[in-house]
């Protein structure tokens, strides 16, 4: 069941633009603090819209391990081409190992940039129900067939999950076991994938002729039940984004953010 907060009621396009805006700024500025701000704001919006858990979970699974693994590797000597500024020395077994700022920064900032993109994309997806999504795509002049393909795939997935379960049970009934070696496992995997693929193809075929029989290919302008239109709340949202951009620009120009923001990089390093 979908929550009904102001976030859900925003036009799908507004949330899509938010996704584009945050991602754009995150990539223009090489700044982990800015990224953290964006992620925090997105998570706050998500919490208000009651979709906090899936987004937080996804970030935890993807981003945290990434940072944990990449940062140590990159910040050590030879880990990163631009390593020159030492910010700390680790004393280990009589040796002194320097930790470099550039590598550290790279190891933190890139995953966080991706996190900004993932979190705002998920916010868009989780708070825009199917009807509003279709309406937003129609208003944005996405071709109808493309819209259909996106939506129908989304609807097909739970059906296929059910089928996969049934197929698994059917093959278990014929002796498929999980306590076998790798080679057998691959063979069994095929025993699951082939019926599933054929089932999916069959469903698509049936759906295709059912759709054709209901005028899907009629060369007329389709009627849609919902129209996406910008309302007051969407304009307020855009206004906030514009103001925030101006504010960020001001702060950045006058104060900067993290130490990373002021580093000069050798040419060729994308930062």
């Amino acid at each position: 069941m979908e929550a009904d907060t102001v976030i859900q009621r925003l036009d799908g396009r507004a949330k899509f633009i938010y996704f584009l805006w945050t991602s754009f700024l995150a990539y223009i500025f090489y700044d982990y603090i800015l990224n953290i701000i964006f992620i925090a704001v997105t998570l706050a919006l998500a919490a208000y819209a009651k979709v906090f858990k899936p987004i937080a979970l996804t970030l935890a699974i993807i981003i945290l391990p990434w940072i944990a693994i990449a940062t140590p590797i990159l910040s050590l000597p030879l880990g990163f081409p631009g390593n020159e500024t030492v910010i700390y020395m680790i004393k280990l077994a009589g040796y002194e190992i320097p930790i470099y700022l550039e590598g550290l920064g790279y190891g933190i900032t890139w995953p966080l940039r991706i996190a900004v993109t993932i979190s705002s994309a998920m916010l868009f997806y989780l708070t825009t129900n199917q009807a509003r999504l279709v309406a937003a795509m129609v208003k944005s002049r996405v071709p109808f067939r493309a819209i259909y393909m996106v939506i129908a795939t989304l609807q097909l997935i739970p059906l296929l999950v059910d089928e996969a379960n049934t197929i698994y049970q059917a093959q278990v009934s014929r002796g498929l076991r999980t306590d076998v070696g790798v080679v057998k496992k691959i063979y069994y995997y095929i025993a699951l994938v082939i019926p599933l693929t054929l089932s999916a193809l069959n469903k698509v075929q049936i759906r295709a002729i059912a759709l054709e029989s209901r005028g899907f290919s009629a060369p007329v302008k389709k009627t849609f039940l919902y129209e996406a239109e910008f309302r007051a709340r969407d304009y307020v949202f855009f206004l906030i984004m514009a103001l925030a951009t101006a504010f960020l620009a001001y702060v950045y120009v006058n104060f900067g953010y993290s130490p990373l923001a002021h580093i000069k990089y050798p040419k060729g390093i994308w930062g």
């Binding site: 029989s213 005028g215 039940l225």
Partner: protein, 285 residues
């Protein structure tokens, strides 16, 4: 007399990969008539249904001979989309024929109207009317995937009724349903028939067909093996059995009793008729 709603004239069809799926099929359906089509699997019944709305040959390709004219439109000269306002085709898979674009029953029924660009004001009225005809009032806001098989098939019927076709074609609509689902769907079909709809229904449930069809077409290996009133065809016990179709049990029973006991009972095609006949014969009427 007005022109028949469906004219099939020496229809012969081969799929690209399978020859002679239909051979020289000829029949007609008058306005308000209910035609049942029976026959073993592989007889070409599904193909025949698809030939009525243009899927054959436009979607499948292949070679076609003869003519199919529905509501005055030659299926060779009109697209499937154009024919969709004349022929409403319902398939046997309740879930798989859902559009995949609708979140609610209401949207599903509206789907065809949306595809044809019908103005929004008119859509609401037609959707509600169709939903009422199949008895799904109250379920407008539910997800189509939450419905039972019988409800989903009724939904499928509603989605084509909304387009106000001149003939409703149902290809084994109850094959995948449980007894209650079958009952629900047959009830809707019977009701529509009583209201004067023109209906073509392919089914294996011959005992049900016997209760509401006017005429029956027996198809086997692409050819018409019998075509006439329901009573005429369903009492052709030997011919039906020779192509692997069981006549209604009571018909077969009476046929055998007549043959083996030298009786001359009228052969019933429904349970009610059988009860009347036998209670008279046994003196308990």
């Amino acid at each position: 007399m007005a022109e028949p709603v469906v004219i099939v004239d020496h229809l012969t069809y081969s799929y690209p990969a399978t020859p002679n799926v239909l051979v020289d099929v000829t029949f007609q359906v008058q306005k308000g008539e209910v035609l049942g089509i029976i026959g073993p699997n592989g007889a070409g019944k599904s193909t025949l249904c698809k030939a009525l709305n243009g899927l054959v040959p436009h979607f499948y390709g292949g070679r076609i001979g003869g003519r199919v004219i529905v509501a005055g439109m030659d299926t060779m000269e009109h697209s499937v989309a154009e024919l969709s306002t004349k022929v409403g085709l319902v398939f046997q898979d309740p879930e798989d024929q859902l559009s995949g674009l609708a979140l609610t029953v209401y949207e599903e029924v509206a789907f065809g109207l949306m595809m044809l660009g019908v103005p929004k004001e008119e859509i609401d009225h037609r959707v509600r009317e169709a939903i009422k005809k199949v008895g799904l009032e109250g379920l407008e806001q539910r997800s189509p995937f939450e419905l039972s098989g019988g409800q989903q098939q009724r939904l499928a019927i509603a989605t084509v009724l909304a387009l106000k076709p001149e003939v409703l074609v149902l290809d084994e609509p109850t094959a995948q349903l449980d007894p209650i689902g079958k009952f629900e769907v047959f009830s809707v079909i019977t009701k529509l028939a009583e209201e004067g709809s023109t209906i073509v229904v392919v089914e294996h449930e011959i005992e049900e067909l016997a209760t509401f069809t006017d005429n029956i077409l027996l198809l086997d290996q692409g050819r018409v093996k019998a075509y006439g009133s329901a009573r005429e065809v369903l009492t052709m016990v030997e011919k039906l059995k020779s192509v692997g179709v069981d006549p209604p049990s009571v018909t077969e029973l009476t046929h055998i009793l007549n043959k083996e006991l030298g009786l001359n009972l009228e052969e019933p095609i429904t349970l009610e008729e059988a009860f009347k006949i036998y209670s008279e014969v046994l003196g308990v009427a």
